[in-house]
Amino acid sequence: MSLQPTTLEELQEMITANRSLLPVGGGTKPALSAASNGATRLDMSRLSGLIEYEPGEYTFTAYAGTPVRDIVAALAEHGQYLPFDPPLVERGATLGGVVAANTAGSGRYRYGGVRDFIIGVRFVDGRSQLVRGGGKVVKNAAGFDLPKFMVGSAGRFGAFVDLSFKVFPEPRAYVTLKAVFPGLGPALGAISSLFTAPNEMDVLDLEPLADGRFSLIARLGGLSSALPGRIERLQSFLYAKTEAVSHEVIQAEADAALWQQVNAFAWAGDGLCLVKVPISPKRIPLLENVVHGLAPRRRYTAGGNIAWLAVSDIDSLDAVLNTVNLPGVVLFGPPGRPFIGPRPGVSLARRVKQALDPSGKFLEI
Amino acid sequence: MQHRIDINKYGPRGQTMAEAIQSCVHCGFCLAACPTYKVLGEEMDSPRGRIYLMKEVLEEKLSIEEAQPYLDRCLGCIGCVPTCPSGVRYDELIVSYRAFSEPQRRRSLTDSMARRMIAETLPYPSRFRKAVASGKVGKLFKGAMPEKMGAMLGLIPTDLPVDKPLPPFYPAKGKRRAKVALLSGCVQTVLDPDINWATLRVLSENGVEIVIPQAQGCCGSIMMHIGEEERAKKLARQNLQAFRPNEVDAIITNAAGCGSGMKEYGLLFKGLPEESEAEQFAHKVQDITVFLDKLGFKPPAALPEPLTVAYQDACHLLHAQGIRNPPRNLLASIPNLTLLEVGDGGLCCGSAGTYNIEQPEIAHQLGQRKVQHILNTGAQAVVSGNIGCLTQIQTHLTERGISLPLFHTVKLLDWAYRQTN
């Protein structure tokens, strides 16, 4: 079953009248948005549109059902952007979906993810009440930070009505440098050297290659006149201080196309499940050991702090994640069971659930 | 901070105290600089807490006795003063408060005996020397307060260096560039008379002529520090008569505590007939390092071998008198010498006058912290501008079974000068 509110009042009525609701945006992350056994889809796509955008303010407010594509376009007109590279934009991801699923692309590395840019939320909770948290200014310490709490909440606490974000000026130009390392150890060694180096990178991805080697992919953004010097410096750093064996520089359209592909998860291929696992660089070898056979395609973003695993079998991965004590969230895959592996802090989340949705209008957390 | 202190109750110092309290905004910046807070982590043992307690006492909401333990633990190191953005004169406050509270507090018999002993012995070199030499210090303390014995005895060498009385006058070498008077001090002359001799030689080497008024005595700052105001005044008066500030370019001190104490003569005599005379005197007081740095000193010769030294800032130079660079400039000018900075350098070593005797545990912790920081530098020697710090560091190094040479800044300089001759 599917419901489609077109106004706030309708939304509130629908929540009052139904239960087991699952708010859904563009449906680009089926494991989170497809309704399974008895759940009712609450299609939020009609509550859409940019409500407020003042370029001079570097903030905007939009309905949760707004396609991110539209927002990205509006921002681009003023040279502004969401630095965390919201993924699946071309496929129709909505702003609400990005928040609920906590998805960020490779650009998350430098300035942070969804949580670091969201500043306000209005949502209807399980008591059908319209609740606001945060505000519309870039800095605000009044009240509990509900906007941040909602990041990754997977529609379990309420249905977003609108969301406010801060944005940044977009770098005027980009260049990407891809360096190849003989193995995981040397690649991780390079990440740790780069961590304390002065070189600033907007993106730092780690990609396993078919032959057991790894490549590190750094993207630099900034003023175009400074970029050639910076990329050269990074290059010499890699050869002098790390075990890089070769490299390639990717510019202009090729650069843009590369990152569009990456952020659309094109590399994950079709037919596989896609799982996000927060990790820290030092634990990557451990994960690599256990998922090697399970996940034919993998990518690490944010300087080795997020693992994206394309797997065929969620159950096996669940078991493996439990053994290495790493939580995961499924984006592509069978519906109904988005959270796998351990669930640190879930008891606290359940308490909040009890406050916002005491009668279980939305799915269990 | 708001207060309801009846200023008139507290004589000439009431105003000083009220002003300090009023300008405190309770922001807590001073916590970071306070050694007792670092050790104990309690609000009552922080400058902010102490100011608050003093306020409550002066407002007559709290008894002197209740507040006393926490105020007694204050080292008087003045570390809190330079860190305070609001300009609270904690130094003036605590000295004034102690002068007010001391006569009123009840002390145990042993406590007051010990204090009397300190007050009647320390400031008088001949008595102090006799007391130490005859082992009386030990005995007196044993009888008076056995539990505090260790600290005191640990600091006093059993065999004292030979007394070398200073001449009334010491000529300048070469062309005379300046004329100064020297405060010879009390405890220091007994424990290490060479510091004064080194001072005379270094000054002379730089064309400075020195008078050493023979009628001078202890500067009185220890007495001020512990709230024995009348004794302090008596000692200060003696010096006001002995020195002739108008006839010299500066009154030189080579002990941090004496310098900062004499700079406060004005406050000591606030509202009294001697006030302006005391102010004039205070203005002439200069630490030897500042004087030389300003005068422009003769470059010393190279040390025979390379030496790394850790410079320990004495609180009463750094915090009380704001003297940071002059000693460093002097030391850095010595060829073959490498100056190293001590971590958390502004933190008191725990020596602070009679603190070792009165708060042995905190003093011990601070001493150990300081020594650790010094050892961390890997320096081959330690230099400081205050005998108290040197003694404290020595004690705590010995406790760890480590021996490092310790120098007063002037002695190191003197040594360097003598390499040429």
């Binding site: 200014v137 969230v329 879930v346 | 807590g28 307690l53």
Partner: protein, 484 residues
Amino acid sequence: MNDQPFFSALQKIYPKDRLLTQGVQLLAYESDALTSFQAKPTAVVIPETQEEAIETVRLCHQFGVPFVARGSGTSLSGGSLPIKDGIVIALNRLNHIKKLDPDQRIAVVEPGVVNLHISQAADRYNLYYAPDPSSQPVCTIGGNVAFNSGGAHCLKYGMTSNHILGLKVVLADGEVVEFGSESLEGVGVGPDLIGLFVGSEGLFGIALEITVRLLPKPELYRTVLAAYNDLETAGNAVAMVVASGLLPGAMEIMDRLAIKAAESGVDAGYPENAAALLIVELEGEAEQVETEFEEIMEVIKESGAYEVRVAKDAEQRLQIWKGRKGAFSSVGRLSPDYIVQDGVVPRSHLGKALAEIDRLSQEYGLDVANVFHAGDGNLHPLILFNGREPGALEHAEELAGKILKMCVDLGGSITGEHGVGMEKRRYMPAMFSEVDLETMKAIRRQIDPKEISNRGKMFPGGEAPALKMTGMHPLEAQGIISRE
């Protein structure tokens, strides 16, 4: 209720020197950095281990005794103000940096660790902890977490919340939960519990262990100090910099009165006679910064500054910042009392907001010094008054209220970083609807059913009924404590 069992239980945990109950000891904990409020707790405990802190919270829950966690007591909103009839849990001895891992750019610290000490410890790896409240030499990470504290350099990389990756907390009912990780992604899966806890002003419980993210020290700073003849022009200069599309690390403004305070407080050596000073700082990789610097100088030149200085070295940079960072406390030199406000306005309304503050200041006949994070529209008007004059505090508070109301009317917030605490509770309804507030309270009650954790803060009015003590406190009867 009978408190005897509670205190006997505390005595089992703490030796005498870490269970403070004497009047004089409690007195010292009466206020934080906002002295208009005072409340004496019944006891102060000083845990030295996480277990002691956990055990204490459990006892408080069991006996229904309210508690306030305390770091360095530098809250400007009465956040760490004790609760009458409650206890204070002073975290200053839980001050160990448990781990510092440069390879992952993280540190794991206890709550009593002083903000600046993390950067000092990380320095040898060329790393630092970015959020820099002016109080950073003294305020603790625990306090920063509770208030989501910010600082001058939070424009680019965010406030405390943006730098916390993992937390171990004891909730108000004694449950210990851990969430987040050593990953830059923090919680990453499921609702962002770190986001929820950071900024909750101690209403959920006590943070016991905090994993923070470290950043590489910027290779180069370019610090520009521009002097203006009036505040509005300086405000407009901020808008111009923002519009230029450059992303400075910090952008701060001080007005005439604040400059005067800073000068007398720390001898900052600022240009004379300036009505307003703008500090803009670029930071980052040298080549990028140098290029940005050329652009920013163009913008500043056109902004109407009558004098522009550029810090030539680290020392000059520090000198510029010294005045700014010491400005609050320095105001103590101008006036015996002040209230600091912390409202936020949309950046494009800065000029309007400042003009309105000026008007209100004249209307109320009270001096207001402005020193603020211009880059994110976070105002810090300091309202000067003399509390000795009857009614002066109330008068000043009324003015403060008007300023906050203006911020909300302009679409902003009543607090950017100092938190609501005790002081701004009553302005919450201006920002939030009854439902919003009720919802926040409902969350709080799920986590702290007895409302013992920092009771009475953040929410207007709704104090739980004070614990009724009948007769003498047992420790009072024993002569261990006394209350005036």
